[in-house]
């Protein structure tokens, strides 16, 4: 709110005499979190469903005027918390190698992250996934987000499916870890000022 006041003051000085209506691009952003607890011995397969309604609500929360012209993913962070499942066996894996796959609305699976090695030597850690991301998967994710933003969601699609698979080291070790994915989404609005 205060920022708006500040900006409006600056622009009221700077713009008023020009009186032109200008098409301005705005880039509000939101961060979506999705998590899964891997509580399993040996290889694992876990699923995360991001509800379309959650994305729509997040975009609505940006409350920015104008038309959406693009949706971008600025960053994806993975937060790992060891021994998150209380009452389960302690984690005995020293590391896991993980793949994350996005199921596109065309039914095809797109690799988001491939061969990500996570050392489970710390209780908590934050991993920037940039170096493990695959461009084709990110593009598909952007397309889905843009379709949600444009309200052009294919019939019957209510969620975005993400599948996580992984292998512990040593093999058959017990994995007890929470994997939380933070996705920063930037929405481009075109609006008149």
């Amino acid at each position: 709110m205060n920022k708006v006041k500040f900006l409006l003051f600056v622009t009221s000085i700077a713009v008023l005499m020009s009186c032109d209506i200008k098409d301005v691009k705005l880039y509000p952003s939101f961060t979506h979190n999705a998590e899964v607890i891997v509580n399993h011995e040996g290889n694992y397969i876990e699923f995360i469903d991001i509800q379309v309604s959650e994305i729509k609500d997040a975009m609505a929360g940006l409350d920015t005027e104008g038309g959406i012209t693009d949706v971008m993913i600025e960053g994806i962070i993975l937060d790992v918390t060891k021994n998150a499942a209380i009452g389960s066996p302690d984690n005995s894996a020293s590391s896991i190698t993980s793949n994350i796959v996005l199921t596109g609305w065309d039914g095809v699976e797109y690799i988001l992250i491939e061969n990500l090695s996570i050392n489970l030597d710390q209780d908590t850690q934050e991993i920037n996934l940039q170096s493990s991301l695959r461009k084709a998967g990110i593009k598909q994710f952007r397309d889905i987000l843009f379709a949600i933003a444009q309200n052009s969601i294919p019939s019957g699609k209510e969620k975005v499916g993400i599948r996580l698979t992984g292998t512990p080291t040593p093999a058959n070790a017990y994995i007890n870890a929470k994997l939380e994915i933070r996705i920063k989404v930037v929405v481009e609005y075109s609006t008149e000022l």
Partner: protein, 302 residues
């Protein structure tokens, strides 16, 4: 986040910022600019605003040694924004990796189109916000100059408002003193030295001050006065606001301390003396140049 609409009606006493309405949510324009990028983004505004403040402060250098001199007028200023002030080199922030330094990113005066940077390997995209595509920054202030005692006169500027909704109180106060040098020296032109100080505040958002030391000269023929000056500017501008992240609702206090980059400036101008009416115009050459014109009534002020 609550939709924010604001109707700004700014009509300062004597400070001609035209009444207008802006009803637009532009809160994300600066949302990524909370650190060094933000200072770079706003620096041209500080430069242009300072250039305007330090323009139109005098229109001759002729001071009586002792006698009544008064001038009351309206000074208008226009900082023309050079193209180099419309772009900056910025560095990606936040969750985007790898950190990338990008030239040609818009400043507050730059293109309304933002600049996107895509990491070729991952497909992640960082978007730098655009500017307002503004080619000039106008300003106007009322000004009173009165003297002269021992070849010294005083100049005042004042403009202000009561508390405006959503903005706060806006005030400008400036004062200056100058002293005739040619009263001591037999010179073919008038010569004076002056010092000016101005403060400008907008609620809790902007606190700016500017000072100018200037050596002034003028030469008059009937009706026309040619004048000029060499000045040294100093100033600072503090911009601050509170940013609330729309998704996490975390609040961040953003604070920019800017130093206008103008220092030396050369003023060249002329005035028309039409009875008590004085009309003058000048060009101020500096890193951020400004044009100024003024119209006023003076007595004993030629």
């Amino acid at each position: 986040m609550k939709k924010l609409k604001l109707l700004i009606a700014v009509c300062l006493i004597g400070m001609i910022v035209p009444t207008a309405s802006i009803s637009q949510n532009i809160e994300e324009l600066l949302s990524k600019y909370t650190s060094e990028n933000g200072e770079k983004y706003m620096q041209p505004f500080a430069d242009a605003f300072s250039a305007n403040l330090n323009s139109g402060l005098f229109h001759n250098a002729k001071l009586k040694k002792m006698g009544f001199q008064i001038y009351l007028g309206l000074e208008t200023q226009l900082a023309v924004i050079p193209s180099k002030q419309k772009t900056m080199t910025a560095t990606t922030e936040g969750d985007f990796f790898p950190k990338t330094t990008v030239p040609g990113v818009p400043t507050v005066f730059g293109s309304t189109n933002g600049k996107k940077v895509e990491d070729e390997q991952s497909g992640l995209v960082y978007a730098f916000p655009g500017g307002l595509d503004i080619g000039y920054l106008p300003m106007a202030t009322p000004q009173l100059t009165i003297g002269s005692v021992y070849g010294t006169n005083l100049t005042f500027r004042y403009a202000g408002t009561n508390k405006l909704e959503d903005v706060g109180k806006i005030s400008l106060f400036g004062w200056g003193i100058r002293h005739s040098i040619d009263q001591y020296l037999p010179l073919p032109v008038n010569l004076a030295i002056g010092y000016y100080n101005q403060n400008f505040k907008v609620g809790q958002y902007i606190d700016a001050s500017s000072s100018l030391i200037s050596l002034q000269t003028s030469y008059s023929i009937p009706i026309v006065t040619f004048y000029g000056g060499l000045g040294y500017e100093m100033g600072k501008m503090n911009l601050k606001y509170e940013y609330e992240d729309p998704s996490s609702h975390e609040k961040t206090n953003v604070n920019f301390d800017l130093t206008p980059s103008n220092s030396l400036k050369l003023t060249l101008g002329f005035g028309l003396n039409l009875g008590p009416v004085n009309l003058h115009a000048e060009y101020n050459i500096a890193k951020q140049s400004a044009i100024s014109a003024g119209l006023g009534i003076g007595f004993g002020d030629k």
